[in-house]
Symmetry: C2
């Protein structure tokens, strides 16, 4: 079966996010108020062929740990749905 996967790679809480801070500082200049806590991450979308959803999830989890994230500073949020 084919599944659609979305992996959101985020910096762990407490890890400095200079890109997010820069966006946050720029917002008031542009006239946007009341926005805070900006954090920037990566989103990776792909399709995976697997026999069932548990197998797909196991493969994606391994992929995240080995390849898509740096586990020291990042974690991954995975969503899988049948395509």
């Amino acid at each position: 079966m084919k599944y659609s996967v979305l992996v959101e790679v985020r910096l762990r809480p407490g890890i400095a996010d200079p890109q997010g801070s820069t966006i946050e500082r720029s917002l008031s200049t542009l006239g946007f108020d009341g926005i805070g806590g900006v954090r920037v991450g990566k989103s990776v979308r792909f399709g995976i062929e697997a026999s069932d959803e548990a197998t797909a999830r196991a493969q994606v989890d391994e992929l995240c740990a080995r390849f898509l994230t740096n586990p020291v500073i990042e974690d991954a949020l995975v969503s899988i749905e049948a395509a």
Copy 2:
């Protein structure tokens, strides 16, 4: 009221994604098979203070159009929930 916002900035369909292609080529070397259509985007999370959800969404949509995306090559997927 305070809302949590997630903006996923994606390359539009048809726009070349060299980062995604590189990931896809590397996967078979690492032993991951059956994965295709890799696309890499950005995820931006933040909190916004607004009187209701429609106001929050209008502000976020304007923010996406003016600042977070390049509308020529990117589009944005917005999710908003009460924090």
